[in-house]
Amino acid sequence: MRMWLLLVVVCALAVGAAVTDEKLKSSQSDSGSWLMYGKNYSAWRYSELAQINTSNVSRLTPRWIYQTGAGQLQTTPLVFDGVMYATGSANRAFALDLLTGRPLWRYSKPVPEGVQGCCGTVNRGFAAQGERLFKMNAEATLVALDAKTGGVLWETKVDDYKKGFSATGAPLVVGNKVIVGIAGAEFGVRGFVDAYDVTTGERLWRFHTVAGPEDPVGRKTWGGDSWKQGGGSTWVTGSYDPELNLTYWGTGNPGPDMDGDVRPGDNLYTCSMVALDVETGKLKWHYQFTPHDVHDWDATEDPVLVDMKKNGVTVKALLHANRNGFFYALDRTNGKVLSAQPYTKVSWAKGIGPDGRPILVPGQDPTEKGNESCPGLGGGHNWQPTAYSPQTGLYYFGSTDGCELFYKHKQEYVEGLRYQNSTTEAVPNKRNEGSVLAVDPTTGATKWRLPLISSPSAGMLATGGGLVFTGDSQGYVMAVDARSGKLLWKFQAGGRVSGAAITYTFRGKQLLTLTAGEAIFTFGLPE
């Protein structure tokens, strides 16, 4: 009998060990795991788990803390089969035992001298398939690791870090493809979205987010040869609609950031949402949020896929809180704007017109002497992950609320060097603040706002327990009521809370994991 039980256990483990395509497609219903960056292909970051809920969240206590020693953490950990997989800065990664938080293996690779990146060698996490894990390394390579050992299966050069390319985002696995984005728009790179074969690391397609000669229509939106340094990086993970077989990626700012004079035109497909055919990488549609951007308002914020009722009809929507201060709902079959409403103070546009273009306010561009514009360079909302709760029907994200002075400078392009031609400063005696927002995606109206002294530094997690989890740069982890925005629990974790919380079950109990400072914290209810 014992032997029989053992066999059953072994079989169960063997079946559970591989992250299959089916598991990825049904990841929303697998509340025991966290299988991809955005929880599901729609990037909801919502878990049905409700053991931790509005009535008991105040009793949450730490189960274990793992000090990674891996610099600033922006990772969304993955969890499956009793193991957590997470990445750190500077090409570090680790597998942790869920029971104790102790490391099972660690991976590190020295970052080559000369790797730049605007904002450190941060990394936002793994993607998984089978027994493989995929991550970007800072020097713009894609590496596949054996989930059981951390050993390298293959490593592919995505592009040349000496030209200013770098990488920080978590990949997205669809079928036999690892789809990845790139960073480097502050260094005059030409951005793209790539797909690689999961088993060999061979590149299958590339979509250039800056239209060149192969795309005559888009090419016309770039004066002269400016497309060659056009930016448009793709540093936050996209989403995927299996029915339409499209993958959605937000694109970054045009280069150079604030001197638009050297790149006349709309600068397609920067500051846009692009819908790509997963098989070919061909562009199905695009929507440009900020034509000819001069404020560094990347459109890389999460593309969240929700089927929602609008005027009594179900529409396939894509939700997106843009850095430019507007919340958008797009029709994800064709890129048409369903609604666009400001969620914070906006000075540069009166609204979004019926043609989908912003109605510009004159005099908002950066100048040599500095010009005030709202929101500031970082937005509005930035890269921090967002959450959509089907329980409340609300969309949750953080925002910086205020303005900045934008400066424009002239600068010659030199390959591999920073090509930003700009800076910003705080507006004297006007302190920016922040908030956590809940927006009704059907109207774009803000349902509630939790005011904070600055933008939450962490992303959002929504749960079936009626909760939204986030955190701030002073080290507070917070749980708020998803319906009202009322603060229900806080914990001082001693370091900037980044990335976003995940939740899953272990031994039948719901746990919550997030990062603060250089540490990974796991919380649970008292036994």
Binding site: G114, Q116, G117, Y407, R418, L452
Partner: protein, 257 residues
Amino acid sequence: MKLVTSVLVFGAGLAFAQGEPQNPYKNDPGAVEVGRGVFRISCSPCHGIHAEGGRGPNLTLGSYAAGDRDVDLFNVIMNGVPYSEMRGYAGMGPENVWRIVSYLRVAAKSVATEKLPGNTASGEKLFWEKGACGQCHRVGNRGGRLGPDLTRSGRSRTPQYLRESVISPDADLTPGYDTITVVTPEGKKIVGAQRGYDNFSAQLMDSQDNYHSFLKSEVTSIQREEKSLMPGGYGKMFSKSELDDLVAYLSSLGVAR
């Protein structure tokens, strides 16, 4: 960068070698221009567009807290200063850090060595006596603790900035010196200079140098104002020549003589 690497390797290989890493872009005009651009993006928010200081020290004086050699500047930009607002910028790559160093050398040269009109000794007397600045400010091991420590004010601020701070204390508040006013449930009002402030609490020092800490949920109100506790009126209290003397004194503090 190869040059730097080889110098480092050379230095490590020969224990008796006295060489230190050298700036590969020393006197390179192209590097100065790139350094200027990088500086404007990464450094100017604290050190000012022209490196003349603001929230961070003035970097055009040619004399630096971290040391005055190129390698000292390189190390402090790469690694930052622990427990200060100056974080490390290794992420921008050593080449760019060397280019910033090259730019700073030019920026420092371009600022004329200013001969200040005031008398330092007279300014010191005014500081401690007529102005009673020492009630709240510390110089060395003397003075109060409520306001910013001025032991190194000559290194960290330009004379113009110091003059403005004396006349208009609110013009550019030193971060972390906001005024916090707390009203307790008993109706007691406590005013002090911010030592900590977050979404849920505030820590402050009162005029008697006592620390207080409050949870927002436990008091009637906590107000934070972006204004200084320093009284106004020094522009009227001091004559023009006295102000010159005071600025000369403050500008001398922390500067090698």
